[in-house]
Symmetry: C2
Subunit: 214 residues, 2 copies
Amino acid sequence: MSLVRVHNFSISLDGYGTGEGQSLESPFGHAGDRLHRWFFQTRTFRRMHGQEGGDTGVDDAMAAAWGHGIGAEIMGRNKFGPQRGPWENHEWTGWWGPNPPFHTPVFVLTHHPRPTVEMAGGTTFHFLDAGPEEALRRAREAAGGLDVRIGGGPSTVRAFLAADLIDHLHVVVVPIVLGRGVRLWEGLEGVEDRFRTESVTSPSGVTHVTFTRA
Amino acid sequence: MSLVRVHNFSISLDGYGTGEGQSLESPFGHAGDRLHRWFFQTRTFRRMHGQEGGDTGVDDAMAAAWGHGIGAEIMGRNKFGPQRGPWENHEWTGWWGPNPPFHTPVFVLTHHPRPTVEMAGGTTFHFLDAGPEEALRRAREAAGGLDVRIGGGPSTVRAFLAADLIDHLHVVVVPIVLGRGVRLWEGLEGVEDRFRTESVTSPSGVTHVTFTRA
């Protein structure tokens, strides 16, 4: 059976998965790059974006797990871009340029219809007005027996956790206090009961916490 | 100069320092013992309570730092006991029995006056209606040049952090989602800017995060 996985999901000590005020200039709002510095330094991240170099320690090992055996991704609309409401700008095809790092079908959850967009490198964006169960059914069909990744943002991960659809959750606790934004854990009291957890700290100062379905 | 220190302050992944519904039977409300299991297993905790045994690894080393060079503690009233409003039960002298583990003057912050209580073993509870600065002034006088510990609960630690009076903060992130209770970080956006932070995970699954004034 294919698994449903979340990877490299950074949160602050006060539980925010993104800051306040997402915009074209600030995809994570007032958080800026502070939640993801650990990630930007990894070889995995640099390769995804066509760059050389990068660290190859524990942060990189955790980051690299992101790509193994994934056949499709589901993401929330706010991860795809800063537009809200009906799609007025069809030129927008995500933050990731002409060759996004997914290389699989990607299902973007939105109440507003939009035609499928085929990108270079095997990434295809499908736009889907569906709840978690239905979205997962569609993604599994497209994944050809491989795993499905839930790509975020926080509201999307939270909805799949609430529906008990996640098998593997990797959160990265960054020792900062964001104070405002979108919280990951809202409404998920006791969610750890369904998982075995492990934690490991890296020299970058973050803590990788993995939740594996018990 | 003596330092102002917080030790062994456990929080959940969603930032709660205590659960909802504190009572005589449940000092941490619905959190039960889940925030402090790592601590109960240490030799330091067992010694504080006159018991033998206990683990002596990294959790214990972090826990033991609690007692080194402390001359006075300041605690919030909710740490002292479950009563609210005027002191109707003067029999109540804390959760800790006739010989509390503090062995120093302890200043309990409360708007309601109550005579000083002398306990066995050098612990004296003073009851003080004062803000953080004034309470710290009194505690420093009593500490004889040693450090002052801020003992909690979350509202008290938060007030001292907000007033920028903390030099050393040790929080312990426990991989559970409490969902409700009292949050430590409320109103403390960016507090990490005033500190250097370090993180280390222990085999019990918790992460010790220390904040040292920069």
